[in-house]
């Protein structure tokens, strides 16, 4: 499968189905592509299956008794949907978990070192650490502090920085904006964009905050109820009436709608089912 | 996969239940075992009138006391084989059903019932105080001999109160009385002003002889020092520091058991308590304990015995040549002759003696009642005649319908670096005090269990 440029996408998810506990069907045929060097965003409401999609890619489903039962996932042409997480990380896919998964009892620097766990012994990690402090200067000041004592924004930065230590080709970001002040969100997204441009890391970004996600993304998918219901260039999506209405909180005429009405309307109108 | 494993498990369970339902008592094998052996020709009747006489045996080679239970169990099983090789009891093989119980009373009760279910059980060896307590009332009803040599219910020395319980060995009280007697001799006949410490496991067994000492101490003028050790007694340094630094007793009597004993030996060595001033009861320190500490450092440590340890007896030699040389021994060869092993031999031997005596009188088939009658006629002479050689191990046992203990003779044995060797003749002491305790305890049992005596 190739994308519009005729180039093979870095990561491609083909029609996967995920079942938890052998009973609960969560993803019902999800396909998406992440091109090399691109930022792709996956939008959707709570429970739409965004996080599950990421975990299906990174292999983190198994400890939660989930399983990819149909479809396939390819990374650089290699099938990875039955690989173990360590192998997937080694290949270059790193997920940053939702809710700032920092290792609270380790220091900032130790957190970063753990991030490089999959890299061969003897790699010079010091340069990488400096590079990360360069992107996230506030971490540098706190390198000896236990990560649990960092502020929310710093923790999110640490999580991203730590993921970079593995030299990923694709970064799977799960709601980096969660629970952060708007200004911080702005800053983090700016850094993500910079990382993408300067380091060439592709990003698959899961967000509920569609407006900011579409700001930095090249391409977007919209999920609902375990399915992809809409996709397109970020620009196209931004101008899509439904997106405006449901995700950007704007009415057809560009005015803010009352939240109650939105919910009401949403419940009636779905793309599918 | 899941379904497969589960169905396998279920299948196995079904087989197990089926086996239980069919067999309960898994087919005993002494007849198969004896087949092809000279036993057939030796027996006077070509076809035995009874399939076999079952001796239920709650063995424990596993569990917390497996180390001490193993030689005993092997002794009993080897003796069973030897007896059957020699034609059994009047041509009927005996079947020592050694059922592993891991020293757990529920399993002991189960073993009793399993042996009883054969319908041929004449005697039961509980080898655990808890099991002895639990099966004694049953034995009254089932009329099965319960043989508990130097453990279990000491009051059972009173044969009138306990018609089916046999010690055929001294009680704990007799043992400690003999120890005191012996120490008195060592001290030149007087214990006045001497300090005697009792190092005991703080459970029923350990505490049992304290009343005897409470009686004897004022009478003989020795000072009684008590050193209780909580079960399992794997850490004793505080007690030993007390012994060495403060009290400095002249003699120590040990009432430990199992894993606590090597620890005690080690601590004794640490504080420098003289080994030759330690006299243990029957169960500690036995040979396996000494080996678990250090054979050379333990030279001089003593305990009392109701069977003589060693291999220099015809019966033990026969076991070695007939079984071990042919690779049919139940256990490790170097444990043959240990006191615990010889006790196992003695247990089966004395029951066989009882059976043979009863056989002379009643003929086949025997039952528990007749066996009890036979056991009550065990004397040094009859044991010599019917005991298949165990008379050499314990020559001084005289049982009667009143006395199921056998006069309470013990000998003191001492570790010489490689084995325990007797250093005294068969001794006993303070019978009056001991008998009073037996009477008292038997009376209490009678009061507690009136229903066993209605008839």
């Amino acid at each position: 499968m190739t994308n519009a440029n005729g180039q093979e996408p870095l990561l491609q998810v083909n029609n996967i189905e995920v079942i938890y506990d052998k009973v609960v069907l969560v993803l019902k045929g999800v396909s998406l592509h992440v091109p090399a060097g691109g930022i792709v965003t996956l939008l959707g409401a709570n429970g739409a299956g965004k996080t599950t999609t990421l975990k299906a890619i990174s292999g983190l489903l198994r400890p939660e008794r989930g399983e990819v039962t149909r479809g396939s996932i390819y990374f650089q042409g290699r099938r990875i949907d039955h690989e173990e997480p360590p192998e997937i990380v080694r290949m270059g896919i790193v997920q940053v978990l939702e809710g700032r998964g920092v290792l609270e009892h380790l220091t900032v620097e130790e957190n970063l070192l753990v991030g490089a766990h999959t890299r061969p012994r003897g790699d010079n990690l010091q340069d990488d650490i400096e590079m990360i402090y360069h992107y996230f200067p506030s971490l540098a000041e706190r390198r000896r502090i236990k990560a649990g004592y960092l502020s929310g924004g710093e923790q999110q930065m640490l999580a991203i920085g730590r993921a970079l230590m593995a030299h990923p080709k694709v970064l799977l970001l799960d709601e980096p904006s969660l629970g952060l002040a708007p200004l911080l969100v702005q800053e983090i997204f700016r850094i993500v964009r910079r990382l993408n441009e300067e380091q060439g890391v592709s990003v698959l970004l899961v967000e509920q905050n569609a407006s900011i996600a579409l700001e930095i993304a090249d391409y977007g998918y919209v999920m609902e109820n375990g399915r992809i219901v809409l996709d397109g260039d970020a620009e196209t999506l931004k101008n899509n009436e439904d997106i405006k209405e449901f995700y950007l909180g704007l009415s057809a005429v560009g005015q803010r709608k009352s939240y109650r009405e939105v919910k009401h309307y949403r419940r009636r109108k779905r793309w599918l089912s | 996969m899941r379904a497969k494993v589960l169905s396998l498990v279920l299948l196995f369970l079904l087989v197990a239940v089926a086996a239980c339902a069919r067999g309960q008592a898994p087919a005993p094998t002494p007849t198969q075992m004896a087949a092809g052996e000279p036993a057939e020709e030796a027996s006077p009747t070509p076809k035995p009138p009874v399939e076999s006489y079952v001796i239920g045996f709650s063995a424990y080679r596993t569990g917390p006391f497996g180390r001490t239970g193993t030689p005993f169990a092997n002794g009993a099983v080897d003796m069973e084989k030897l007896v059957n090789l020699k034609g059994g009891v009047g041509g009927v093989p005996i079947d020592v059903m050694d059922i592993e119980t891991g020293y757990e009373t529920p399993r002991g009760v189960e073993a009793y019932e399993r042996a009883k279910a054969t319908g041929r059980m004449v005697a039961f060896i509980p080898l655990s105080t808890g099991t002895t307590y639990a099966v004694t009332p049953k034995a009254f009803e089932d009329k099965v001999v319960v043989l508990h040599t130097a453990y279990g219910i000491s009051a059972a020395a009173d044969g009138e109160t306990f018609p089916y319980n046999f010690l055929a060995a001294p009680t704990y009280w007799s043992g400690d009385a003999a120890i005191i007697k012996w120490i008195q001799e060592q001290e030149g006949g007087s214990l006045k002003g001497k300090k005697i410490g009792i190092l005991y496991l703080d459970i029923d067994y350990g505490r049992e002889t304290l009343p005897l000492h409470e009686v004897l101490a004022p009478k003989l003028g020795y000072e009684l020092l008590k050193y209780p050790i909580p079960w399992p007694g794997l850490e004793q340094s505080a007690v030993w520091t007390n012994i060495a630094e403060r009290d400095k007793p002249d003699w120590l009597i040990w009432r430990l058991w199992g894993d606590s004993t090597p620890t005690a030996l080690r601590e004794a060595a640490r504080v420098g308590y003289p080994m030759d001033r330690i006299v243990g009861t029957y169960w500690s320190p036995v040979a396996v304990d000494v080996l678990a500490f250090n054979p050379e450092k333990s030279v001089g440590v003593k305990h009392i015995e109701f069977v003589t340890p060693g291999t220099d007896f015809p019966v033990i030699q026969e076991i070695l040549t007939e079984l071990y040389d042919k690779g049919q021994g139940a256990g490790a060869r170097d444990q043959v002759g240990m006191e615990l092993y010889n006790r196992g031999v003695y247990n089966v031997g004395i029951l066989v003696a009882g059976m043979q005596i009863a056989l002379e009188e009643f003929g086949h088939p025997l039952d528990g009642e007749k066996l009890a009658w036979g056991l009550e006629r065990v004397t040094p002479e009859t044991l010599k005649k019917y005991g298949m050689g165990v008379a050499d191990l314990a020559p001084e046992v005289t049982l009667s319908d009143k006395d199921h203990e056998g006069r309470g003779f013990v000998q003191v044995v001492e570790w010489d670096g490689t084995q325990f060797k007797p250093i005294t003749d068969w001794i006993s002491g303070f019978r009056e005090e001991v008998d009073a305790l037996v009477k008292q305890a038997a009376q209490k049992f009678k009061e507690e269990n009136p229903e066993l005596y209605q008839e």
Binding site: V89, A166 | G66, R67, D334
Partner: protein, 294 residues
């Protein structure tokens, strides 16, 4: 004073050995939140193997090597066959599984020891008592205590300074995060089980010298429990200090109180201390407090 000193020093040595048992518990707990109830049986198996090898005439180094081989194999297979399939199951099931493993090991020990009774781990260490001024000690206990301390240092170093140690700390902090960073939980579990096997080997040898190769070693596993709970299930420093504390406390208190109240102090003093400690500090003195949110 001499009396006190002797109680104190002996308690100290015993305490270090308790801590050694506790170390095996902490290792497993940190990596998998599992209370390994087979810790005593593992030590039993290890000491039996070493003693058996020595009994067959193997020189000390070879006997210990045999122990290492067996314990490494044990750790590997236990992880592979029992714990890997149980990943993601409730902790209580995992603890029950360790009970199953304990029974399994007992079975093996019983069969082998029935065939080859061995009594002592004899590595040729002196068994003499050692007199340091007024205090008499067992030289084997002193050696055992030193070895135990060394092992604590080694494990501590591994945790603090090595890459695997860092990964282990990450796993004990947050398993999901660790997994997302490409740390192989399976691999680490195998590492800790093998590590616990080796710790069991050391405690088996040390205790096997002290009390003989016997089932009591398995029972000693229980002695590790109050220690780890006092120190905190996930703290090695806690295990060491709590072990020493309990060893000293029970010895000193038993030394003074037993003659007065007739024994039994040792039996429940550790638990009594633990109860009070738990009341004051529900997660042990060095344990990591769990912050709960709804």
């Amino acid at each position: 004073m001499d009396f006190f000193l002797e109680l104190f020093v002996n308690g100290l040595l015993t305490g270090v050995l308790y801590a050694l048992i506790a170390l095996g518990l902490v290792l497993i707990y940190k990596a998998s939140s599992v209370l390994n109830l087979a810790v005593g049986e593992m030590a039993l198996l290890a000491s039996f193997v070493v003693a058996l090898a020595a009994n067959f005439g193997a020189p000390s180094w070879l006997a210990i090597l045999a122990g290492v081989v067996v314990m490494v194999a044990f750790g590997y297979f236990v992880e592979r066959l029992a714990f890997r399939p149980l990943i993601g199951q409730p902790v209580i099931s995992l603890i029950m599984a360790t009970v199953g493993i304990a029974l399994f090991l007992r079975g093996i020990y019983f069969i082998l020891s029935n065939k080859w009774p061995v009594y002592l781990v004899d590595l040729g260490l002196p068994v003499d008592s050692l007199n340091l001024g007024p205090v008499s000690l067992l030289s084997s206990s002193v050696v055992g205590g030193l070895v135990a301390l060394l092992l604590f240092g080694l494990v501590g170093y591994i945790y603090a300074r090595t890459r695997t140690g860092l990964a282990l700390r990450a796993v004990s902090d947050n398993q999901t995060v660790a997994l997302s960073l490409g740390i192989s939980i399976d691999h680490l579990w195998a590492v800790v089980w093998i590590g616990a096997g080796l710790v069991a080997l050391v405690s088996g040898i040390v205790w096997g010298q002290r009390i003989g190769v016997q089932f009591g070693i398995a029972i000693l596993g229980l002695k590790g429990l109050p220690v780890v709970f006092l120190g905190g299930l996930d703290s090695m420093v806690g295990a060491l200090l709590a072990g020493i504390f309990i060893g000293v406390a029970e010895n000193v208190v038993a030394g003074y109180l037993d003659p007065l109240i007739g024994g039994g102090t040792k039996e429940f003093l550790p638990f009594f201390i633990m109860l009070i400690a738990l009341w004051v500090r529900p997660y042990g003195f060095f344990g990591r407090e769990i912050i709960e949110r709804v």
